[in-house]
């Protein structure tokens, strides 16, 4: 080949290379090797798309022409666009997809802003970028103001949910009774003048508000709003009997009820703080219960004890740079969730903080379906103990009772907890107007319904479910577990939209080291007795030491006899020795795991080279023979 022909061939081939890669990037399909088909449209989405009656228009806005866009951002935009094309194909003509690349100061940019797409500012260049989706059905338009790469695992859910939302002309109604501050507190304009910002609502409210109109109900209310699609009762404290009656009647009339009760609310404990208690304030009421209702509805639950789990105890930063295992904080893996039931079928991890436990009442005639259960290494911890004891002591106090249910669904024919009808209001105090006469007509005495009870309420708070951060100037949150997914799944499920449930937790699958977790639980069990005995001896010695030391000081003068001084020195030595022993035991708890790590490092480092060495020797001998 002549040099000029070579150059032409190289140039042509390079153009071909670029062209082939461009065409390949437009290919509409890709393989999904994940076990859970994370990157494939789920049956829920397909079912939802098949139900579209009138075409839905999707306008996907992405400012691909902006300079300085992070590569990861561009890749994510490609991923979103490709998934939208998958939707387009699956909907068989019921979706109209428009991909729009708005340039600055163009009608497209105006359209994006009008549709509610929020521009993001690229750090460095300061350019505004639109990356969002608007869905239009008839005259209803809803938008996803920005796409966030951190939410990639929820992309399919978010898209399906938007398409679903735009087809529902009236939002369903969710009644919310909560003692926990889930909703944004009222903001005083005076505070704004002082430079303070309003507190946002907890993230779960936003999740619920996507599909529901959330109607807050004060605990001192006596009635519920009419036509609720679902009723949510979170951490009920001191509800009026009339309100309890209204809840009872709501369930019996067929409206699903979700109750989250808590034997020990970490949120309220933190609110009270140790300072308040040191100043002699009364201990805060951190428990919640609906004793009359739950008992009648066939559920036993006690505020006296908290569920501890030696296996699923969460690893928590102890604030001193170390990691401690909290048996009373449950880090629940996939096997804790009932895979047979829709709302929990695809969950992978949840965190419950100081949860109680539930059990069915045998003769209630209702169907009690556990939704979330602990491991078989669980047991009770007296709620009182949580105020004083260290995690190790809590672990020691657990007497294993087997699997415990921390969330359950109850279905069937419920009976009323108020057979006498609506309770009378308390008699009016002097000077007050007497309450209006009670309508004595007996209410509904039975009815079929759906009730879900979770024996913890803290899990709904942001602190245990999301990590908030700032993404290109916009406040965003990334789920750290499936707590929010469960809360949303459950309400969607209870209110009847089942298509979205099969989509929600896709891709958030965690694959923990189960072997290590089992070893930790075993070690905890093995050293428990030793630790218990040692702690007992240590506190004896510390008590005697304190007694002796208190005899020594007398008005600031040292009057210790040599014998007493010797005894003190002896006890101090014993105390130091025992502390060392305790350290050793704690180290021994990790010993097996550390040894396993070392073994695995060595095997992995040398297994390959040994295989190669063996092959080399065999190959050499074979060559010699040949």
């Amino acid at each position: 080949m002549k040099p000029s022909a070579k150059i032409t061939a190289i140039v042509l081939l390079f153009v071909g290379l670029v062209l082939v890669n461009y065409l390949a990037s437009q290919l509409p399909f890709r393989g999904d090797a994940t076990a859970e088909d994370i990157y494939t449209l789920s049956p829920g989405t397909k079912s939802l798309l098949s139900k579209i009656e009138e075409p839905v228009t999707l306008d996907f806005y992405f400012s691909s022409g902006a300079s300085g866009l992070p590569i990861s951002y561009k890749n994510y935009a490609n991923r979103v666009e490709e998934m939208l094309r998958q939707y387009d194909r699956a909907a068989r003509g019921k979706l109209i997809l428009n991909v729009i690349h708005p340039e600055p100061d163009t009608p497209e940019e105006e359209a994006a802003a009008r549709a509610g797409i929020q521009p993001q500012v690229i750090p460095g260049t300061g350019e505004q970028v639109y990356f969002g989706l608007a869905a239009t059905h008839a005259d209803l338009q809803e938008a996803m103001s920005t796409f966030n790469p951190q939410r990639e695992q929820f992309l399919e859910y978010d898209l399906s949910e938007l398409i679903q939302r735009v087809q529902v002309f009236e939002k369903r109604r969710l009644g919310l009774i909560s003692s926990l501050p889930l909703q944004a507190p009222e903001f005083n304009p005076m505070m704004a003048q002082m430079g303070q910002r309003p507190q946002p609502a907890q993230f779960i409210i936003g999740e619920w508000e996507r599909s529901f109109e959330v109607l807050p109900i004060e605990p001192d209310a006596t009635e519920l709003p009419a036509n609720l699609d679902v009723l949510v009762v979170v951490h009920p404290q001191a509800l009026m009997p009339e309100l309890e009656y209204a809840i009872d009647q709501t369930l019996l009339s067929g409206t699903p009820v979700f109750v989250a009760v808590d034997p020990s609310s970490e949120h309220f404990k933190r609110q009270a703080g140790p300072q308040q208690q040191m100043m002699g304030g009364p201990p805060p009421n951190t428990t919640s219960d609906l004793p009359r209702l739950l008992r009648t509805w066939g559920v036993t639950y006690s505020t006296e004890s908290v569920t501890g789990d030696l296996r699923y105890g969460a690893q928590v930063n102890d604030g001193r740079g170390g990691i401690a295992r909290f048996p009373h904080w449950l880090q629940l893996p996939a096997e804790s969730f009932n895979a047979e039931v829709m709302p929990t079928a695809q969950l992978n991890s949840m965190v419950l903080v100081e949860a109680g436990h539930l059990a069915p009442i045998d003769d209630s005639g209702l169907t009690f379906t556990p939704l979330i259960q602990t491991s078989d290494q669980a047991g009770d911890i007296p709620a009182m103990m949580l105020q004083f004891a260290q995690p190790d002591a809590l672990a020691q106090s657990i007497k294993e009772t087997g699997r415990q249910t921390v969330a359950a669904m109850v279905t069937g024919e419920f009976k009323t907890a108020f057979p006498q009808g609506k309770p009378a209001p308390p008699p009016a105090a002097e000077g007050e107007e007497p309450a209006p006469a009670v309508d004595n007509t007996p209410g509904q005495t039975s009815g079929s319904g759906t009730l879900v009870v979770v024996a913890d309420a803290d899990w709904l708070m942001d602190s245990y479910s999301v990590r908030r951060y700032n993404f290109l100037g916009v406040q965003a949150a990334e789920p750290i577990n499936d707590n929010l997914a469960f809360a949303s799944n459950l309400i969607e499920f209870m209110a009847g939209s089942k298509d979205l449930i099969s989509i929600r937790t896709k891709g958030s699958s965690q694959h923990p080291f189960t072997v290590v977790r089992d070893m930790e639980a075993d070690a905890q069990k093995r050293y428990q007795q030793q630790l218990e005995a040692l702690e007992g001896r240590l506190s004896d010695v510390q008590r005697q030491l304190t007694e002796l030391q208190s005899q020594v000081g007398d008005g600031g003068m040292l009057v210790a006899s040599p014998e007493v001084a010797d005894a003190i020195a002896e006890f101090q030595a014993q105390e130091a020795e025992m502390r060392r022993e305790r350290r050793d035991i704690r180290r021994a708890l990790r010993e097996d795991i550390d040894a396993l790590e070392t073994k695995l490092v060595l095997i992995n480092l040398f297994a390959g080279p040994l295989c190669i060495g063996a092959f080399g020797l065999w190959f050499r001998q074979r060559r010699r023979r040949a």
């Binding site: 080949m1 070579k6 061939a9 190289i10 081939l13 390079f14 290379l17 670029v18 082939v20 890669n21 461009y22 390949a24 990037s25 290919l27 399909f29 890709r30 393989g31 999904d32 090797a33 994940t34 076990a35 859970e36 994370i38 990157y39 691909s64 022409g65 300079s67 300085g68 992070p70 590569i71 990861s72 561009k74 890749n75 460095g124 699958s509 965690q510 694959h511 923990p512 080291f513 189960t514 072997v515 290590v516 790590e597 695995l600 490092v601 095997i603 992995n604 480092l605 297994a607 390959g608 080279p609 295989c611 190669i612 060495g613 092959f615 080399g616 190959f619 060559r623």
Partner: protein, 240 residues
């Protein structure tokens, strides 16, 4: 192309006759495992996935594949055996493809020999095997592209050290193209469409989907087409 197989056999077995190849394999395996355990904190992460293992592959290949590929042609050129090779009844293309496939098979064997890592996650938990297999596929394809580039630079010079340095530089650019800072630099003096196009030519951008379990035809086509292009240039370079 009938002579490709004999060339492949001769070259492939040739690797195992040389102690250098064994040293290469041992270094590769120990570095791959060491990076995952000590830098990627594989054990502390507590997740039965090989993400912290595969994330280092583009960087590991950046130095090890040029080391393996630098002698492909430069050695033959230096000792003059390249002329001898072409006196045999084989075409340049057959020789290039044969040699390349042998080296790729050798590198693939090196990647596959990291299987104890996969067994380890299988022992420690319940990994997603589909994702692991996809990651291995991606890693082998990426190794192929690195090697094609190294084969080309090796054909350009008699000097192995120059070949090594050249291939590290070219591969480094192909890694960095996927890096935001680098693409911003490109955008500052190239039209945006062209800068985007170039940024899409990054090893990392096309390898990452595999590590998530996505097998995108466009990623496979990227690695194969880049390999094909580099091998074509390789033939052109040898026929100068």
């Amino acid at each position: 192309m009938s002579q490709v197989i004999p060339v492949f056999k001769r070259e492939f077995l040739g690797y195992f006759r040389s102690p250098v190849a064994y040293v290469f394999l041992v270094v590769f395996l120990m570095a791959a495992v060491g990076l995952a355990f000590f830098v990627g904190r594989f054990f502390d992460a507590g997740q039965a996935s090989l993400e912290s293992f595969f994330v280092f592959h583009p960087w590991l290949f950046l130095f090890l594949i040029p080391a393996a590929g630098m002698r492909l042609w430069s050695e033959e050129k230096r000792t003059g055996t390249v002329e001898l090779l072409f006196t045999l009844p084989i075409t340049t293309l057959e020789a290039v493809v044969g040699k390349y496939l042998a080296a790729w098979a050798f590198l693939s064997a090196a990647v596959v020999l990291t299987f104890p890592m996969a067994l380890t996650v299988g022992f420690l938990g319940d990994p997603d095997w589909g994702v692991i297999l996809a990651s291995y596929l991606g890693s082998i394809l990426m190794a192929g592209s690195y090697l094609a580039v190294c084969s080309l630079t090796s054909a350009l010079t008699k000097n192995q050290v120059i070949s090594f340095v050249l291939s590290v530089i070219v591969c480094l650019v192909l890694v960095f193209l996927g890096w935001s800072i680098f693409s911003e630099l490109l955008e500052s003096f190239l039209p945006l469409a062209l800068a985007d196009l170039l940024a899409n030519f990054s090893f990392v951008t096309h390898f990452e989907p595999f590590t998530k379990g996505i097998i995108d035809p466009s990623d496979i086509i990227f690695f194969l087409s880049l390999t094909g292009f580099a091998l074509f240039l390789n033939v052109v370079a040898l026929e100068r």
